[in-house]
Assembly symmetry: C2
Homo-oligomer: 323 residues x 2
């Protein structure tokens, strides 16, 4: 299995610079935020979002070094992503993420709310100062979508009547919107054609969906150790994802268990057994595969380059995490 890091070879040194820049931007003036920034940007995150922006920068302008605006856009995507994680953890009262204690469990709700707001505020400011209204609109849409996704997830818990379409919409808001809009924004900064910009959006959208779908598989299959959080945490907290939705089609009794929020002894164990006994996980992996392939098709118009190859391989890598 390839690691994400080795795929990022064409932009490896750029990502190292980005990490340092982020720590400086966020932590420069406030000791507590510095600690939070070290915690957030030092803890071996995959930096998937900035890597995609930087790879698209190289793939669309192969003759040039990556521009300052592309670098700033890459930083903004990681700030937005991190801000939303920090606030999600407050909302979900999560204690651990990727095996590392969350900001709110390490520093308290106060600092977590402040740090998230500060990251959102910094990203808005840096965004405005990219001096490109199209890019501002694309990324402000992401911030709207993240809030919408978090609200949908927060308000529609334990709903077994969710359709797969509604599940995909939720996954778009939560994960794919940022990848789609920042991939397109990277193209806009390279002055690509409208058509190519839309394809880059399509790449990010389908890659993001595949990524989220695989994450939802891993929540059922990975041990707490691998994933860095307890297994089946989605279902137990009422976040009903594709494996459960498919399993309900085979075992309608599962809907009842979810609907009563696993109120009776053994409900949760029965639910897991029904999902394992179904084709839910296989069908979910198939769904991820569809979106991974669609992502790659959107790259057809990009000229060949090492960075284009990395973007293609990334779509395979996302799938490989589920096996």
């Amino acid at each position: 299995m390839t690691s994400a890091i080795s795929l990022f070879t064409p932009v490896e040194s750029d990502l190292a610079v980005l990490t340092e820049t982020l720590k400086q931007l966020v932590g420069a003036r406030h000791p507590i935020l510095y600690a939070a920034a070290e915690h957030l940007f030092g803890a071996g995150g995959k930096r998937l979002r900035p890597a995609i922006v930087l790879l698209i920068a190289r793939a669309t302008l192969p003759q040039q070094d990556i521009s300052a605006k592309h670098r700033r856009l890459a930083e903004i995507t990681e700030m937005i992503h991190t801000a939303s994680l920090v606030h999600d953890d407050v909302v979900d009262e999560a204690g651990v993420r990727r095996g590392v204690p969350t900001v709110h469990s390490s520093f308290g709700n106060r600092v977590a709310v402040l740090a998230g707001d500060f990251l959102f505020a910094q990203s808005s400011w840096h965004l405005a100062n990219l001096d490109n209204l199209t890019v501002v609109k694309l990324l402000s849409q992401v911030i709207m979508d993240l809030a919408e996704g978090e609200i949908q997830q927060g308000l529609n818990r334990f709903d077994p009547s969710l359709s797969i379409d509604a599940y995909l919409e939720k996954s778009y808001y939560k994960t794919a919107s940022l990848l789609a809009n920042s991939a397109k924004a990277a193209g806009v900064l390279s002055n690509v054609s409208d058509d190519l910009a839309d394809h880059l959006y399509g790449y990010g959208r389908h890659l993001g969906l595949a990524f989220q779908i695989v994450d939802d598989v891993l929540d059922f299959t990975a041990s707490a150790d691998t994933l860095g959080k307890p297994s089946c945490s989605d279902l137990s907290s009422g976040n009903v994802t594709a494996p459960a939705l498919y399993a309900i089609e085979e075992h309608p009794a599962l809907a009842g268990l979810i609907d009563r929020e696993f109120a009776e002894n053994g409900d949760f164990e029965s639910a897991i057994a029904l999902i394992e006994d179904s084709k839910g996980l296989e069908r979910t992996k198939d769904l991820a595969r569809v979106h991974s392939r669609l992502a790659v098709q959107h790259l057809d118009d990009l000229p060949p380059s090492e960075s284009k190859q990395a973007l293609i391989k990334l779509a395979d890598y996302v799938l490989s995490r589920a096996y």
Copy 2:
């Protein structure tokens, strides 16, 4: 004593429309957010910020009705202000504001963080879609300043060595930046000269400082009933404001009480007594008066109109609250 509402006569019907629009924009799709929006935008807020934007729109373009962009800007200022209040209340763990229970005490931390994020996200999106990069930059600076102000206040508690300049800087971040930058943005949308835009910024800045300084007086002088929150809540939570800073110059012992965070029995009562025995409150009112007058001077270049008169009277009204 004039009420703020009667000053807003030139834009009274516009403010009524704005309140309904805000409830719709925020609460349209989510029942819990609808409840929070009713709570936030229904509870007799003064709507100072949108009123200033609307009055400047009328004063700078006296021959026209208020434009859709000015109305949207007015809504954005109230969204940003409300978002920051909601998150401040989570950070400060405040139970009551303006006599009304806070969102986090009524609906819990989860909904308060979500509602604040949703309001910030909506404001970013509407801002980007004003299609004016200058306005985007002005308001994204406000969002940065609010985060900076909240962090400064959160991290520098119980610091009796704060200078009056540092206190004014904190007050600028917390309150005046939004008034200053949105007043300027209202002028920018009216295509005023750069010089007039800067004067509008100056008006908002000094009015905002006067407003905050008076608020800090009221925290010491108003009963819990009038202000809607317990008196002296700033000092007790470690937020050292002008009355205490001036009082320290007369009674250096006060610094020690603050520095040890009122750890010993009677410390807090002694501190209040020292402040009441000093010229702190009088000098603070004088400081507010200076900024109120400076605000009015910045309006000299505006042509005469009913709205200009309202902006001038507003600066008097802000002071009158302290008497």
